[in-house]
């Protein structure tokens, strides 16, 4: 099972994502943004960071990188794509997941540990997460306030597209509508979330809850591979 981690100019969690994907049992390699070839990746991760400095709008410039065409095709073929933090912003700008990410309500960069509820376990990104478990992970972003018109939010919720929500006393760090922390594409093969599962993949670092998410991804991609 091969995970490709896209490196945009300004990505800064690419190495973390590769490290954590390997802990989750995948073969993981970087993919250079100017090379449209996915080099046989079964799943693609768009990592966190500040692609193109997050100038203009987070994710706005990165979505035109040559590799994004291939990522889109991969997604259209049903391939799995996970966007973390800046990767989520790129996915949203590219229209691969619904919604937009505005500046945090506090207008400040927020780093803190948050708790997430997982609304469903029947997805490629959550299948390995035990029931009733909330996930402890850090967030670190300045533009993570999830926004979408109310009717679209209703529709998103109705189809089970809100996969992660901020809960507990740590609260909603950015003012996201309806506490949305992560969403699923309509076909449920593309997921974007603001918190960082790859930074919560070892007990030593404070939590290994994120590994559950990455293991789900790796397992699901492996199963799809076997089925194909």
């Amino acid at each position: 099972m091969k995970v490709g981690v896209v490196v945009f100019p300004g990505s800064n969690c690419d190495r973390d994502a590769i490290h954590a994907a390997r802990l989750a049992g995948a073969q993981a390699e970087p993919l250079w943004h100017e090379d449209p070839d996915l080099h046989g990746a079964d799943a693609v991760i768009l990592p966190g960071g500040f692609a193109y400095g997050d100038y203009l709008r987070a994710g706005a410039l990165a979505r035109f990188s040559p590799i994004m065409g291939s990522v889109r095709e991969h997604a259209e073929r049903g391939g799995l794509v996970l966007g973390i933090c800046n990767g989520f912003q790129v996915l949203a700008e590219a229209g691969l997941v619904p919604g937009a990410l505005l500046r945090n309500a506090s207008l400040r960069f927020e780093h803190r540990w948050v708790r997430l509820t997982v609304t469903r376990r029947d997805t490629a990104f959550t299948s390995a997460i035990p029931p009733d478990v909330t996930l402890l992970m850090p967030v670190a972003h300045g533009e993570g306030c999830y926004t979408s018109p109310d009717d679209k939010l209703d529709a998103l919720e109705a189809r089970g597209g809100v996969l992660f929500r901020y809960v507990g006393p740590e609260g909603n760090p950015n003012g996201s509508a309806r506490d949305v922390a992560g969403v699923l594409s309509e076909r449920e093969n593309v997921c974007g979330l603001m918190p960082h599962p790859e930074r919560a993949s070892e007990r030593l670092l404070g939590s290994d809850d994120g590994l559950l998410l990455l293991r789900s991804l790796v397992t699901s991609a492996g199963q799809r591979l076997a089925a194909a």
């Binding site: 100019p9 969690c13 190495r15 490290h19 966190g48 960069f109 790859e198 930074r199």
Partner: protein, 772 residues
């Protein structure tokens, strides 16, 4: 260095009629010496180059003789003072690079950009050595937290540090934040960076091999940071349009990130012979320093320098401080590969000259016309040096005034102060309260290596693929430094190393940043001299080398100089992350104890601020032999796995240390402290060389015999448990004594953790008006 830390220069209008060298900040004497070095009068471009290189910031002309007295060699040191950053070997073929640096003046002018470019600058010093930056610590000092100016500065600086560090993806894992009225007009922004490298990638900032190419890559060059020298334009070119000469450098962290990746790739692939970052004095500094270090010369083709703007004069190109640029020395057969790497990372790159064997920095203009020729050494290693005169102030607080009684009591009971209430107010003091408001603006987990961030204690960053971790801290003691600059420096070194040692890590070396006033004033120079003597004494006593540092002088305003501020940074190595000792109380019924004992003196303490303690009180002294023995004991105790927790007793004294252990651990304690006639010394005094530890009950005897063997006093205080912090006072200074004096105050601290937590968490936001 990042951009020049420089004293204000005369305004353009004022200097129109002054001789050029003076307008550029050079004295008549210096002009004479330059003539001597050249054997002729300098032309205007050469004068500009000398003026920036012979500035205090680049030449260390006032401090160089002092810095020579520091202990600068030690085991494992593979690069030290004189390099961009100190590098110490840590085994497994790995080494760690670290350094502190100031960006005070730029941050005072434009806090956001000043702090951001400060982070960018120190990061460049780290990766110039071939190291990947893995951590940043920021040490910030401001004036009155309730003033509008301070609030603007705090907000701008914190956004600037985060804005750069977060974007380049280097976690900001710790630092320091202090408020003192003397920083009101002159805040201090000192930033420490730490990097990790394969020892074989160690890169020198030298230009060896005549015939090699001089390559400039990174951002294009603009008119950044040449405001001071713009008099040259008015004098020479009759163009003083200030609009065209921005003095504020704008940092571009995105370009900074690309620069890190490109540089590390170039180094890893072995494509470079030398690498130097560009900071203050720009190209002039980079070429003269690299040539001088290698004993070579460099001939520059000025027109080859990529520019951001049109119509730049030669001097502007030579001294521009545009950020995010690097100078590489490259063998001709490797230039194509170098260009390819830079292009891939989207960075402009150009060959701007060649290494020569004549020892000169030569600047060639269009058609090879020689615009300047100066011996590289005259600009750097052979720059002018001053033996300045130092004089202690007329009234030093070091010794008690003649005839003054030894301090017998401290006013705590007399003033009817309840120690519990004092503790609450200390925990809420902006100097001691939770830093979450600041640390929450910093990405401290990027890199997936942060074991402990800035929430409490030293920062701990593991090294992937090994069992090792690096432990890092930065400390200063300006309140003590204000009373006694020697003691301020000694205690900063002691405290900083102690903070590293209590985790179980062995300190690898010391970096320092000396923030002082105008060295041309005898008192300020005396303070600097005392501080350097203090660092040297402390490092020798603790067996540590100074691996590098920075000097920032002229920290003065219309309201006077800042208090002498010696900022210290220490990095330690923990061989086995499994043995990491945290500062927090962990388990009920563990035994709490204090290692070390308190000594008299409340001068310089936070308590003194709150209680207005006896005005002429001294700060407590420090016994370096005792400190060294304490640190050795701690390393022994952690190595043998005895300690469940260890916390330094610092600002706010024993009570605050105990409260922190409880708050951070989320568990209370029931304790008893014996107080003499001066209970505040015991409870809130800041005498050094003390550590609060906790051990499992079964480990108590072992700890006691270890302590006895090392001659360090050990006092059992009580047990961990519950959800209150209770400290009963016993002994001479307790109940009976207080009641005799008619105060009738409580002789104990007995506080629910919730109350303490609220005070501690709300202290900073409230002080700076960011509550809610």
């Amino acid at each position: 260095m990042t951009v020049a830390e420089r004293p204000p220069r005369p305004a353009v209008a004022e200097v129109m009629h002054t001789p050029l060298h003076r307008a550029l900040g050079l004295t008549d004497h210096e002009l004479g010496v330059i003539g001597g070095r050249l054997g002729r009068a300098p032309n205007d471009l050469e004068l500009a180059m000398f003026s920036v290189m012979w500035s205090e910031h680049c030449s260390y002309k006032s401090s160089r003789p002092l810095l020579r007295t520091l202990p600068t060699s030690g085991p494992g040191l593979v690069a030290g003072v004189g390099e961009n950053a100190g590098v110490v070997s840590i085994g497994d073929g790995l080494a760690v690079a670290f350094k502190l640096e100031s960006h005070n003046h730029p941050s005072a002018v434009e806090p956001f950009q000043g702090a951001a470019t400060g982070v960018g600058g120190i990061l460049r010093d780290i990766f110039t050595m071939g190291a990947r930056p893995i951590a940043v610590l920021d040490a910030l000092k401001f004036g009155d937290p309730s003033s509008a100016r301070t609030r603007r500065l705090v907000s701008g600086v914190v956004r600037g540090v985060g804005g750069y560090g977060n974007c380049v993806g280097v976690p900001t894992v710790g630092g320091e934040l202090a408020f003192h009225p003397s920083y009101e007009e002159n805040p201090l922004v000192n930033v420490m960076a730490v990097g990790l490298l394969e020892e074989r990638d160690l890169t020198r900032a030298a230009a060896p091999g005549p015939g090699n190419l001089v390559v400039l890559y990174g951002s294009a060059t603009g008119r950044d940071g040449i405001g001071g020298a713009s008099v040259l334009a008015s004098a020479t070119f009759g163009d003083a349009d200030p609009q065209k000469r921005p003095t504020v450098q704008v940092g571009d962290p995105f370009a900074g990130k690309l620069l890190i990746e490109a540089s590390l790739e170039l180094i890893e692939r072995g494509l470079l012979e030398g690498l130097q970052d560009l900071g203050a004095a720009g190209i002039t500094c980079a070429v003269s320093e690299t040539a001088d270090r290698a004993g070579t010369g460099i001939r520059l083709e000025l027109d080859a320098v990529p520019r951001r703007e049109t119509g730049m004069a030669a001097f502007e190109v030579m001294i521009s401080e545009s950020q995010e640029r690097m100078l590489a020395i490259v063998r001709p057969d490797r230039i194509d590969a170098v260009v390819e790497v830079c292009r891939r990372w989207g960075l402009p790159v150009a060959v701007i000259g060649r290494v020569t064997d004549d020892g000169d920095v030569t600047v060639a203009g269009a058609d090879g016309v020689e615009l300047a020729r100066v011996p590289a050494s005259a600009l750097t290693s052979d720059a002018i040096v001053y033996e300045r005169e130092g004089r202690p102030p007329a009234r030093s607080r070091r010794a008690p005034a003649p005839g003054a009684p030894e301090l017998a009591h401290d006013g705590l009971p007399e003033r009817g102060m309840d120690p519990g209430a004092v503790l609450v107010s200390l925990l809420g003091d902006p100097n001691l309260a939770s830093r979450a408001w600041v640390t929450g603006r910093y990405d401290e987990t990027v890199g997936s290596d942060t074991v402990c961030g800035g929430a409490h204690g030293a920062a701990v960053v593991r090294i992937k693929g090994t069992a090792k971790a690096l432990v890092m801290a930065t400390d200063s003691n300006p309140r003590v430094g204000a009373l006694d600059p020697y003691l301020g420096a000694v205690s900063a070194v002691a405290e900083c190393t102690r903070n590293v040692v209590i985790t179980g890590a062995r300190p690898l070396g010391v970096t320092d940043c000396l923030n002082f006033g105008d060295p041309e004033r005898a008192e300020a120079f005396w303070q600097l001299t005392e501080a350097v003597r203090g660092i040297a004494d402390a490092c020798r006593a603790l067996g540590l080398a100074v691996t590098g540092g920075n000097v920032s002088l002229y920290n003065e305003s219309a309201y006077g100089a800042i208090v002498p501020t010696t900022q210290i940074g220490v990095v330690g190595l923990l061989d086995d992350i499994g043995r990491l000792v945290h500062p927090v109380f962990r388990a009920g019924s563990d035994v709490v104890a204090l290692l070390g004992e308190s000594t008299p003196g409340l001068g310089g303490s936070i308590y003194a601020d709150h209680a207005g303690a006896v005005p002429d009180d001294r700060p407590p002294g420090i016994d370096l032999a005792r400190e060294s023995a304490l640190q050795a004991l701690l390393l022994d105790a952690t190595r043998s796995g005895l300690l469940r927790s260890a916390q330094d007793v610092g600002g706010g004294g024993l009570c605050v240390a105990l409260a922190e252990c409880c708050l951070w651990g989320g568990i209370g304690a029931d304790l008893q402290v014996t107080v003499g006639t001066a209970p505040a010394v015991e409870l809130f005094g800041e005498s050094p060389s003390r550590v609060v530890v906790s051990v499992a009950p079964t480990a108590w005897d072992a700890l006691r015999s270890l302590a006895a063997g090392s001659g360090i006093p050990l006092r059992r205080l009580g047990l961990i448990g519950g959800d209150r912090l209770r400290i009963r006072l016993v002994g001479e200074g307790a109940t009976g004594a207080a009641e005799e004096r008619g105060a009738g105050v409580a002789d104990e601290v007995d506080m629910p953790l919730d109350v303490l937590r609220r005070a501690w968490e709300s202290g900073l936001p409230r002080a700076i008006g960011e509550a809610g």
